[in-house]
Symmetry: C2
C-alpha cells in the first residue's frame, strides 16, 4: 500500500451544512479515511485531513472540489485568511510506502482533471510546481481571488491547467505535493523569552540555521516557560533529534536547560522512528519491522 495524506483547505468555515456536504463527498470514496477537520469562523475556512491509498485519494479530492464549487461562491466570500478559490489549496503528502514522486503525479493528474471537468483554473505548487516562481504558495496566491480575477489574463499568471479566467463561483485552485509538516515545540527551564528568541534565530533556516526548520521564540504564560515553537517542513532533511540537540547546545550557551518538548497534532511514524534509530545507533532498521506498519502495508496492498 502507498499511503498518501491529503490536506485540502476549503473557503467555508461558517455554514456547517456546506462543510458536512464536502466531508460526505470525501467519505463517499471507498478506502479513504477522514482523520480530522478544523473549521475556523474568522478565517471562514476549513482544513480537512484525510488519508488513503495513492489510487483513491485523488478521487476523494476531486469530488470534494466539485461539491465546493457547487456550494461556495467566491464573489461573496469574506474571511481573514488569504484565498483564491472555493477549494483553495490541495496538498498531497507521502506517508508509509509512498514517495514524493507518487504525490507529484497525483497532483498533476488531479489538476488536469479539475480544469477539464470543472473548468476551474489550476496552479501547481511546491514539489509539483512546473515553474520555480510557483513553488511558494504565497507567491501563487498573490492578490487573492479579487486580484487574480484582474491579473489572470497576464501571461505570467496563466494557470498550469485550464482557462485563463476564474471560474465564476469557485475561483482558482492550487494543487501540489509537499513533505509532511511536523509542529514541534521545545520548552526551556527558563522564563526568559529573549533566550528563546535567540535560540530560534540560531536554529531556523531563514537566519542561517538548519534547513527546513521554521521557528520563533515565545512565552508560555500558563507555565512561565520560554518556548521555541517550530514547524519542521521536511523532517527527512532536518530530523527532530537534530534540531533538539542543536537547541540543547544553544541553551547551554545561555546557561539554561531544556525542560520538555511537545509535538502538536499528527506526525508520520517515520519522524519518530528516525529519532529512535538515531539515538540507539540502529543500523539496517526497516519501517516494516514495526508490526503496526507491516500490517498497514499488507492491507489494501
Amino acid at each position: 500500500m502507498k499511503l498518501v495524506q491529503c490536506v485540502p483547505n476549503f473557503s467555508e468555515g461558517r455554514r456547517p451544512e456546506v462543510i458536512a456536504a464536502i466531508l460526505d463527498a470525501i467519505k463517499g470514496v471507498e478506502g479513504v479515511t477522514l482523520l480530522d477537520h478544523k473549521p475556523d469562523v474568522d478565517h471562514n475556512r476549513v482544513v480537512v485531513t484525510f488519508v488513503g491509498d495513492a489510487s483513491v485519494v485523488a478521487e476523494a479530492a476531486f469530488r470534494a472540489t466539485a461539491k465546493a464549487a457547487e456550494l461556495i461562491n467566491m464573489e461573496t466570500h469574506r474571511g481573514e485568511h488569504p484565498r483564491m478559490g472555493a477549494t483553495d489549496v490541495i496538498p498531497f503528502v507521502p506517508l508509509t510506502g509512498a514517495t514524493m514522486e507518487d504525490c507529484v503525479q497525483i497532483a498533476e493528474a488531479l489538476g488536469e482533471r479539475i480544469a477539464r471537468e470543472l473548468a476551474i483554473p489550476v496552479y501547481l505548487y511546491e514539489k509539483a510546481a512546473k515553474k520555480p516562481e510557483r513553488r511558494n504558495l504565497a507567491d501563487v496566491r498573490r492578490g487573492e481571488y479579487e486580484g487574480l480575477k484582474l491579473d489572470i489574463n497576464k501571461e505570467e499568471r496563466h494557470p498550469d491547467f485550464g482557462p485563463a479566467r476564474l471560474h465564476r463561483s469557485a475561483g482558482a485552485t492550487v494543487v501540489g505535493a509537499r513533505p509532511p509538516l511536523v509542529a514541534f515545540n521545545v520548552n526551556l527551564a527558563s522564563g526568559d523569552v529573549k533566550i528563546a528568541r535567540a535560540i530560534a534565530k540560531a536554529v531556523r533556516e531563514s537566519s542561517g540555521g538548519l534547513p527546513a526548520v521554521k521557528g520563533l521564540g515565545l512565552m508560555l504564560e500558563a507555565t512561565g516557560q520560554a518556548q521555541i515553537s517550530m514547524n519542521m517542513v521536511d523532517f527527512t532533511v532536518t530530523g527532530l533529534h537534530t534540531v533538539f540537540e542543536a537547541i540543547k547546545l544553544e541553551a547551554a550557551k545561555h546557561g539554561v536547560t531544556v525542560a520538555s518538548s511537545e509535538v502538536i497534532g499528527l506526525l508520520p511514524a517515520k519522524a519518530m522512528l528516525d529519532v529512535a534509530a538515531h539515538y540507539l545507533q540502529l543500523t539496517d532498521f526497516n519501517q516494516e519491522q514495526v508490526l503496526e506498519l507491516k500490517l498497514a502495508a499488507r492491507h489494501e496492498g
Copy 2:
C-alpha cells in the same frame, strides 16, 4: 480496535502440506492477517505470527489447533525443540489498543474451548497462569510429551482445563498471555568478547541487572565485533533506551564504545515511540498522534 498478536508454535517443521493446512485455517478467519511463519527442520516445529482484533484472534488459533490435532501425531513426532503438543504453545500479545488483561481473557476462553471441544488438556502460563509455578513455560513443559504422559495423573500436573490425560495424537497445549518480546543487539567497537560478556552480565536481570532483560555476550565472526545479544521481555518495564544507555556506561568502564545496534525481526510501534519520547523529553505524547496508528485505530473499530 484492540490489536492482538498471536505467535502459536506447532510441532511440524518438515511436511509443507501440513504447515500450509494450518496456515489456511488461520487465514480463513476474516480480519486476521498472517504476518510470518518460520519452519525449522531440525526442531521439527513452525513458529507462526498473526495479528487481528481481540474479537477474532482466538477463533483463528482455535481452528489452527483443531487442524494440527488432525494432522500431527505426537506419538511419532521427533525434533530437537522441547514440546508436549501438536499445537505446543499459544501466546497472545497486546498491541495498539489492547491490554494484557484483554489477552489473559482471550487465553482463558480459548483454553476452555480447546479442552471442551477438542478434548485436549490445556495449561495456562505467563500472565494467564492460575498457579505461580506455571508462569514459566519451561516448568509447564517439564518432561515434554513423553514425560507428561506418565505424570499428568499426578495432582500437581493436572491441566487447568480438560481431562487429566493427554490427547492421543495432539498431546497437551499451553495457552497464555505475555508482553511483546523485542530482540535487541548492541555491537561494540571492540573484538573482545570478554567485555561483551561482562556487560551482558551487568545489564541482565538474572545477574542483578535491569528487570525484564535477558542477554549474553558473543562474538560476530563476520565483523569481528563483540555483541551484547538481548531479549527484552517487557519493554514497558525496561525500555530499549534504558538498556542502551546502561551498556554505553558499562562499555566506557572497559574503555570501549558502542559501534551500532540492531533490532531483529518485528517489534511494536510503542517500543520505538518510547525511545524517541525519552530522548526528546516529550511530554503528553499520545500514540494516536502518529498518523499510521491513528488510522489503524479507525479501522475495524
